[in-house]
């Protein structure tokens, strides 16, 4: 099978998508290796969801080459769909059914599903297996969404902003679940606008803004590559706070020392965090 020979689970070249006058995706390249957790990070409206929907085979593209598990998702077949698991941004499970009924039913769609009871356990819903879906909390519904995403034993799992609206405890539980799936060898693509989430889960990540990839790599590498220099902050005699981003912080401090003739009021020198890198790259960090 050519799909097996392909090192990349997802291979995207020059992807473009416009909605009327708005360009949502403006030439994105992505390569996601088999077995890795890949984070697609960006602010709302950056083009994350559009990209993922195209990878799911649920949206047409205007231009570019897309290969998901060796197949163009625009020509998705049932066999291909059985190898790709999807967890949607908004929940959509039938309210009147119980968790167990729903998971069991979805298992029948797939040629080689996982054991429904095992999947219910995997997402931590054993205690709720007999409950109607309408009686579940938001976090529990999300867990059910993941259960339905993995019931077919997918090779690739696509998660679109899976933890939006979670409280911190629920988010950490969810992360554990994703790590568990990753440890089992599932290739995972997840979009998020939470930097800490991408940093906690992803082997590699791409930061996208205004429909383009502005940085790609391991979280540590991104910090090192884009987080050069430092920010020097001080207070002017009139009381205003000034900040300057510089590649030569020592020289900047020496210059200030000369200007103030001694102690510099409110002096602070800080190295950029990954968050600073993210905010700068996505054009949200104007104040920094």
């Amino acid at each position: 099978m050519t799909a097996h020979a392909n090192e990349f689970a997802v291979d995207v070249r020059g992807l473009r998508k416009r909605y009327g006058d708005v360009t949502a995706v403006d030439g994105i390249d992505l390569g996601i290796r088999r077995g890795e957790v890949f984070g697609l990070l960006g602010p709302n409206g950056a083009g994350k969801s559009t990209t993922v929907e195209i990878l799911q085979g649920n949206r047409n593209r205007d231009a570019g080459e897309v290969s998901v598990l060796g197949t163009d998702p625009a020509k998705a077949t049932r066999a291909w769909r059985s190898r790709v698991g999807i967890v949607w941004q908004d929940e959509s499970a039938p309210a009147e059914l119980t968790v167990r009924e729903t998971v069991r039913h979805f298992a029948h769609y797939y040629p080689k599903p996982r054991d429904p009871e095992q999947v219910i356990g995997l997402v931590g819903l054993e205690a709720k297996a007999g409950s109607r879906i309408k009686a579940l909390s938001g976090g529990q519904r999300r867990r059910l969404d993941v259960a339905l995403g993995v019931i077919g034993d997918p090779e690739l799992l696509l998660l679109d902003e899976p933890t939006t609206g979670f409280d911190p405890a629920a988010r950490h539980q969810f992360w554990d679940l994703i790590r568990l799936l990753a440890d089992e060898g599932t290739t995972i693509l997840l979009t998020t606008h939470y930097l800490e989430e991408a940093e906690a889960l992803a082997n590699r990540l791409a930061i996208i803004a205004r429909g383009r990839v502005v940085a790609e790599g391991e979280p540590q590498t991104l910090r090192d590559r884009f987080g050069t220099g430092a920010t020097v902050e001080w207070t002017e005699p009139d009381g205003t706070t000034r900040a300057e981003h510089t590649e030569t912080p020592t020289k900047a401090v020496a210059d200030l020392m000369r200007r103030f003739d001694g102690e510099i009021p409110g002096l602070r020198v800080s190295r950029p965090t990954l968050e600073d890198v993210y905010l700068r790259l996505t054009g949200q960090g104007a104040a920094r």
């Binding site: 099978m1 799909a3 077995g35 799911q56 949206r59 999807i86 040629p111 080689k112 997918p154 440890d183």
Partner: protein
Amino acid sequence: MTTTTAAPVRTRGGAERLPSAWTIGLRRGALEIRQFFRQREQVVFTFSFPVVFLFLFASIFHDDVKGSGVTASQLYVPAMMASGIMSTSFQSLGISIAIERDEKVLRRLRGTPMPPAAYFLGKIWLVLCTGILETAILLAVGTTFYDVSLPSSATRWLDFAWIFVLGLTACALLGIAISSVPKSAKSASSVVVLPFLVLQFISGVYISIGTIPGWMLDIGALFPLKWLCQGLRGVFLPDSAKVLEQAGAWEFGRIALVLAAWCVGGLVLCLLTFRWKNRRDG
């Protein structure tokens, strides 16, 4: 090999057999029926609506219809059965599928290897089940209170069977087709109920054929409800009532033709227009 992830990479061959559309369709049917009957409110209102209307009309209008050998009450029994068949198929599906689309149930299904045909099959099973129940209830009320007798011959039962199946299927397919018209679930019931209500007036459900202007009847004759009503009158009323029909006959042959044509046309319409996502979702 030095890799950062020690986990085995998940890959699979493509040799497994996918479950057939028929099998999944049966499972979906069972699931749809279970879901339907768990919504108490919906069950009560779906089934009581035509019964209440039958009670109202058949009790208000009960005089003999001259020269036909039947009472107005008797006329209302097949009329309300036809209306009940259309409400369990056309109206229920039109509204419920629009809601499922709005709540993204359809989009989720589209993301699985479930074949689209299995979804439609499941809906047909649901409609068959609720349609049979609805018809049985109306028939029980009709025979008990309004002097309608069950078909006396096997031929008439057979006519009843094909009229029921063709009429139900045609209306169900039209319901699936109209579900794509409303922009959101909020407007679904208005979009679906208005044409249904109009059809009931011009197809001889509420008002007898003899009272409706000819041009209205001609429009009604373009749609399945008129023929469904006529066919059921033919099954449940004595032949003396034929004089009330436009053609002075039951026209079973033409009924079969029109309903079958609507089954084919409705299927084509569904295949051409069915959407898995809302318009605003692209």
